[in-house]
Amino acid sequence: MDKIIVLGERDNVATCLADFDAGSVVHAAGLDVALSDAIQFGHKFALTDIAAGAEICKYGEVIGVASVDIAIGQHVHVHNIESVRARGDKANGDQERGDKS
């Protein structure tokens, strides 16, 4: 497998199959992308600028939404995207409960 893979046509993230240092310039989905963060084996980076609230796509399917604005080349993980499913912390109209803990 290539060291960087993109699994679906509408994907806005790529997956690294090797460790990459911050500052590396990598080729993915026809683009040259400068990685602004170090990306570990198995982790993802943004293929485009992604606005807060926008969907994150991998496998051509939605895997979550951006919780903050994400720039191309940034590490995409639990610090800047979140699941939209099974969020009991957001149930019953209490939108903030989970974020206060």
Partner: protein
């Protein structure tokens, strides 16, 4: 071409890939005696539960149904059931008897003491093992074989390498007449629409949505943010960011064939093809349900490394993670990390898995079997009273 595997035909028409005698403790208080008997008699395995006393209603029935399914499992040649008294052990033994295999029962209070129970139990178990050893393997069609697919300790490589390899195996096995069980519907979340679209009948599509909805509602009802629980910390360290991402990788191990049936925990499938079983995502609990439902083999895909196997059903560990393949080779049966590190084709990897599964069906011992990495854990849904 008729493809076959070598198995032990049982009186109820099912076929085992192993030929062991189970020492089945029906309740917590006879577990030590079951362990002693198994320590004395070669060829036996212990099936036990930390519960079994004063359980009620659906919760008790779930335990009984699961232990019955495991006792009647075709990989088990004969069963010795233990209980505090004959009265408390007999109901379970009676439910296993329709399988047609030898079933013996002992009560601690009737035996007199735990050492007397151990002596009497070891004598009976030894006879059962000697009898079982006369049975031999015969060529049987794949329609007699049910293989469950499971994953644990998932990471990015699970969705890219090991699960797609298992998925290709599943498609080929189903096309050859076999049955594959895919479980853990909480880990369909975010991918359930893809599975529901493959259900052969609309009721099963509705059931798939309902099973996933149940887990989602439970998380909400408990005020829980699923992010703290699933994906787990090791999943996250491995690069999985959300449950949806994990699910999309997890369902790859079910291949691409139509879903023929949706069944409950520890229920045996009645159709061949791809079957969905409703189990929790905890691997031991899920595998216990799969064994209770009669799966003879489990293929367990792991990324970061999860070594646990099921009791009774040989559990084949497959990883696509080069680090895991290197760090825990004694726990891994099939290493497909070359997909990631060396560009191995998924079809080639799947062929290697096929060959290994056939060897294990015919008697080759898995890593989890030889290291006794097994844990039985029956789902519970209510308190004991």
């Amino acid at each position: 071409m008729t493809e076959t595997f070598l198995g032990f035909p049982r009186p109820d028409g099912r076929v085992g890939v192993r030929n062991q005698v189970a020492i089945l403790s029906a309740m917590d208080n006879t577990n030590p005696s079951a362990e002693r008997i198994a320590g004395i008699v070669a060829g036996t395995i212990v099936i036990s539960t930390p519960f079994g006393r004063t359980q009620i209603g659906d919760d008790f029935e779930m335990t009984m149904k699961t232990l019955t399914g495991i006792g009647a499992h075709p990989n088990i040649a004969a069963v010795l059931v233990l209980g505090l008294s004959l009265d408390s052990a007999k109901p379970l033994a009676d439910r296993i008897r329709p399988s047609g295999k030898p079933v013996e029962v002992l009560g601690l209070q009737e035996a007199g003491s735990t050492l007397a129970l151990t002596t009497e139990g070891a004598r009976i178990a030894a006879d059962l093992v000697v009898q079982a050893s006369e049975q031999s393997r015969q060529a049987c069609p794949f329609s007699d074989l049910t293989i469950a697919v499971e994953c644990g300790g998932s990471d990015t490589t699970s969705g890219l390498a090991s699960n797609p390899t298992v998925g290709r195996f599943a498609d080929r096995f189903i096309d050859s007449g076999g049955t594959i069980i895919l479980s853990e519907p909480a880990e369909f979340m975010g991918a359930e629409h893809l599975l529901a679209a493959r259900a052969e009948n609309p009721e099963d599509a509705d059931k798939i949505y309902a099973m996933v909805q149940w887990f989602e509602d439970e998380a909400k009802r408990n005020g829980v943010d699923m992010r703290g629980i699933n994906p787990t910390p090791d999943n996250i360290a491995g690069g999985l960011s959300t449950l949806e991402e994990k699910s999309l990788g997890a369902i790859a191990k079910g291949g691409t064939r139509p879903i023929t049936q949706v069944i409950g925990y520890a229920e045996p499938p009645t159709k061949s093809g791809l079957v969905i079983m409703d189990t929790p995502s905890a691997a031991c609990e899920s595998m216990t349900g799969l064994v209770g439902g009669g799966a003879q083999i489990i293929i367990f895909s792991t990324g970061r490394g999860n070594a646990i196997g099921a009791p009774v059903a040989p559990t084949i560990k497959i990883t696509g993670n080069p680090h895991t393949a290197k760090s825990m080779p004694e726990n891994i049966d099939v290493d497909v990390s070359a997909i990631i590190s060396d560009g191995e084709n998924l079809n080639v990897a799947s062929e290697r898995l096929w060959i290994e599964v056939m060897k294990i069906a015919a008697g080759k011992i898995t890593r989890a079997e030889v290291l006794k990495e097994d844990q039985l854990s029956v789902s519970r849904f209510g308190p004991s009273v």
